[in-house]
């Protein structure tokens, strides 16, 4: 189902923090993982993903390091810092509350 991409842009920090709370990933892997989990509904554009990763890194929520993969290619892996874990939990709580309220509004509007 098509949706306004601004909705995805607005929640990109939460989605990144959530994905990285499970394991360290690099940019391409984050895109692939979000595609897989959302059944190809969420496709992060590079223009959104990489600046968002750098913004979260600047805020101290992410750490990063270059690692060499099995195929010899170097990739920049991102992982959560302690502040990032805290922010991830807070953002998730906020999102759950927000969606609950939106759903409540929608259900009353359409009884």
């Amino acid at each position: 189902m098509p949706f306004d991409r601004e909705l995805l842009k607005g929640s990109i920090a939460l989605l990144i923090l959530k994905l990285l709370s499970e394991r360290d990933m690099y940019g391409y892997e984050i895109i692939q993982e979000s595609l897989r989990r959302s059944q190809e509904a969420f496709e992060f554009k590079e223009g959104t993903l990489y600046p968002a990763l750098h913004q979260l890194h600047k805020r101290g929520y992410l750490r990063s390091e270059w690692r060499t993969g099995e195929n010899g290619k170097q990739r920049k892996y991102y992982g959560l810092t302690a502040a990032g874990r805290k922010a991830a939990r807070a953002s998730e709580k906020e999102w759950v509350f927000f969606t609950k309220m939106v759903n409540a509004m929608l259900s009353k509007a359409n009884p």
Binding site: G47, P51, R75
Partner: protein, 274 residues
């Protein structure tokens, strides 16, 4: 990787053959105006690794070279869009760096002006067999002049950097600074405002005429405002016997400030202007 290679060209940064991937990455990095070479190469490396992953994915679908390139471009998005997003992420750092550079330019220029004017006055004192200390008895008023010369030259330089394609716009910072300085000097030193304001105009006009290809034409830039001020207000500094020395001092200042600017551009600011 032969996948995106084009013949005969070389990549400027890493010595690798220029690829379409490199072009996309270079465009993003260039347009993003990232502060610092380290950050630029870090982001370039990261985006390049990403593009290589995309290209590998395209190959796994069995696409030919052109189809793969199209797919990579489509999936990656517009370089301008990515660059603009990166630019806003690093906007505070860029601004801080610009301000630090501006402060360095102003401090270095002021020191250069003080040294030049001080040297000219000392030489004049020696040549006229007067006490060097006595030539600095108006130092308080001269300090305003030192600041005004720096402000005149640096404001025009700032205008050139901000509006490199429009001369009319390039002089706007100088005009604005000049108006503020006029108000400030007329308030603080109403009896002695003429010389620093003339010096400000001399320095700005000197910088402006340094752009002219004809050698030494900027000498006129430093002379004209001084002559006008001299005609209007007479002797500008009490006890100053040699007005041409004022012109000489200002002219040497303009020359030295030009060298200062060129030095900073080459060795300090080069990273930002890359």
């Amino acid at each position: 990787m032969g996948f995106f290679h084009e013949n005969g060209e070389r990549h400027a940064l890493e010595g690798q053959p220029v690829t379409r991937l490199d072009r996309i990455v270079s465009r993003v990095v260039l347009l993003a105006k990232l502060p610092g070479n380290k950050l630029r190469s870090e982001i370039a490396k990261e985006l390049r690794a990403h593009l290589e992953d995309l290209a590998e994915e395209a190959r796994s679908y069995g696409y030919d070279e052109d189809a793969s390139a199209r797919m990579v471009k489509r999936r990656f998005g517009e370089p301008q869009e990515i660059a603009s997003a990166f630019a806003s992420v690093y906007a505070p750092e860029r601004l801080a760096k610009r301000l630090a550079q501006a402060a360095l330019l102003v401090i270095t220029s002021t020191i250069a002006v003080v040294i030049v004017i001080g040297t000219v006055q000392s030489i004049a004192a020696i040549c006229t067999a007067t006490s060097i200390l006595s030539t600095f008895r108006d130092i308080y008023w001269e300090l305003f002049g030192f600041g005004a010369i720096t402000a005149g030259y640096c404001s025009l330089y700032a205008g050139e950097r901000l509006f490199p394609t429009s001369l009319a716009r390039a002089v706007l910072p100088s005009v604005t600074v000049g108006l503020w300085l006029s108000a400030l000097f007329l308030w603080l030193i109403p009896q002695h405002a003429a010389l620093p304001l003339a010096a400000f105009t001399c320095a700005a006009l000197g910088r402006l005429l340094q752009r002219v290809e004809i050698p030494l034409v900027w000498f006129a830039g430093t002379a004209l405002p001084l002559l006008i001020a001299w005609a209007l207000f007479g002797r500008l500094i009490s006890g100053w016997q040699f007005p041409w020395l004022v012109w000489l001092g200002l002219t040497i200042c303009c020359k030295v400030l030009r060298e200062v600017v060129q030095f900073l551009e080459r060795f300090v600011f080069s990273e930002s202007f890359a």
